[in-house]
Symmetry: C2
Subunit: 363 residues, 2 copies
Amino acid sequence: MATIYDVAKRAGVSPKTVSRVLNGDAPVSKKTRSSVAAAMDALGYVPSLAARSIKSQKSGLIGLITGAISTVNEVVTAGGLPELFIVQGVQHVMANSGKTLLIADTAGQQERVPTLIRTFREHRVEGLLYVADFHKKIALPLPIDGVQTVLANCYDDFGTPSVLPDDEAGQLALTREVIAQGHRRIGYLTLASGHEATRLRLSGFKTALAEAGLVYDPDLTIAVDMFGTHGEHQLIWDALDRILTNDDVPTAICCGNDRLAMAVYGILRDRGVGIPEQMSVAGYDDHRTISEALFPALTTAELPYNAIGARAAQLLLGMIENPATASITAPIHVSGRVQKRGSVTRPRRDASVVINLKGRTTS
Amino acid sequence: MATIYDVAKRAGVSPKTVSRVLNGDAPVSKKTRSSVAAAMDALGYVPSLAARSIKSQKSGLIGLITGAISTVNEVVTAGGLPELFIVQGVQHVMANSGKTLLIADTAGQQERVPTLIRTFREHRVEGLLYVADFHKKIALPLPIDGVQTVLANCYDDFGTPSVLPDDEAGQLALTREVIAQGHRRIGYLTLASGHEATRLRLSGFKTALAEAGLVYDPDLTIAVDMFGTHGEHQLIWDALDRILTNDDVPTAICCGNDRLAMAVYGILRDRGVGIPEQMSVAGYDDHRTISEALFPALTTAELPYNAIGARAAQLLLGMIENPATASITAPIHVSGRVQKRGSVTRPRRDASVVINLKGRTTS
DNA sequence: CAATGTCATGACACCGGTGTCATGTCAACT
DNA sequence: AGTTGACATGACACCGGTGTCATGACATTG
């Protein structure tokens, strides 16, 4: 690999002059500039950031850790890893800021985290981003001295700056939309009750009901724990059975996420319940691979992963540029839009057909 | 940030001795070792890889580019980006090899690629990985001199080493399974016909049919172009309509991917066709968020993304270690497993109910 | 014409590590 | 006792850039 000295020699100038041409930080005569450019070109010269950074003390690197970072309570989902979208949001911002991302995935082995951080520090990263796979509380393995840190999709007890989805507002807005369509009784299949998101969304759900003067019926809210595939369908089947056999059958069901809604589509139809004619269904996440492809397309609340990533990146960059900003702040909440598609429509009067179908079981 | 000189001063030794303690590459007395260790500890010293690498000429960095890398023919899908799994496969291998990944996402802007490569070269990456979002042919923007390169999920015309999914073998194995269940007439909804994968899988499909002595009926193979959501369902609806109104209605349908299968579930059921009682459905990809959650769970062929990533990483590491290996090789094909779940079962004799339902249209 | 200022460029040290070689100490061996 | 060699350590240069300061050539001004 050619060095600045090679270029200098070939162009018949000093290395420092080549440096000046490279950075344009001091006047260089036209003639010299072009001969230096020619030499760089001929040699395929690319300056070394390593050399540069030992002098400047700036690496231009940002470290990002994804994957299972020490979860506080042991709720684990083999989720759909949409954290990728967070990472993309981060990358987009970073690309425009001239920083380069160093990414490490723990692949669930949190004991690796200290090693990764060590590697990042050896690379002299200017900032650190933790990206969690779902909204949760974490405990940083080490207090990271000197390196600015931002948490995305997670938070801790020590006031580390963090960016979170506004799950409460999301479910609130979505439920409002369902109610606006005329539904008065709404079932709710939540994710595992231990999740942070579940608690917040349920709160939003209740608020929407209260706003509209509707009563919240605990019998219609059922938590579905989704650990892997085994028995998952049976759980959902049972939950739906309880809802469908209720004395006053709801006309709409909200689901903890799009994936759950997808399963609900199948089970409801398998029981002869038409969607959305007999039952409106709403999701959460707006995981577009699912929500757009489902038939009918799914009305759902966006989990603004991309925006969360972007926001976290901006926050971090701000903290790096002006460390004073790094004062302990409350988490930043990012809210997503309600995506109205075809699965939530006005309820039909004769939805009672539903009741006839109770009693079947999955094979 | 503390330097090796700070540590040396505090421990009362020369920097070189600290270096020896750090690397364990020369004998150091026990006493010295412990006092140096104490000093490093007290100062929170972490060696600088930048300084190290200018001397050693080894960065320990591998560059990875994801996203829309200059596609040759302009078929574009806003796909589900399962390329993430390829990246995970890569990371897993890299983590165990001591290299660190530098990742850049073009976010669809291929004009950025040259800039990214430039940045990577400034970081003196030892190898470069291109990861495409789906099996395709690409044209590298530049011949990358000096930096070993491997293509994952894509290939080019210049014999750059590449790792690809074995789409033909995958569809072959999957179709064999469908046939083994007793199906004799099988519909096939393929992805856009311009895709590499479509061609290969169709070939595997035909081979399986031929092996079993079944005739391939072109009327039952329909390409579904999936550009975004608009009109997509109508296309699928029409395609299914053609299949369901065929004189000899098939008992099973293979789909170009799991996402398509998901839409097919909805549309078939909406037309009153039970799954799998009246129609078996198979997917492709084994995108587990979909395939496991669908009801019934989807029988599908695995697109071994993780393995592709791992294989590509291994190949690259081998090329770096022993550049002689870098001779132009044929693409490496990685095949995936057939995941037998609940959506393909033995066909029922009285599947004729299907025919009655033609004629409805989507709203 | 001398004094002054601007422009273009180079010499040199330094950033934080490591390879090479030299030096000093002490135990073992003839 | 003198020689030899293993062991422990340090001095120094070098990797590839950049900041600082000095220098020389001209043009401008009084």
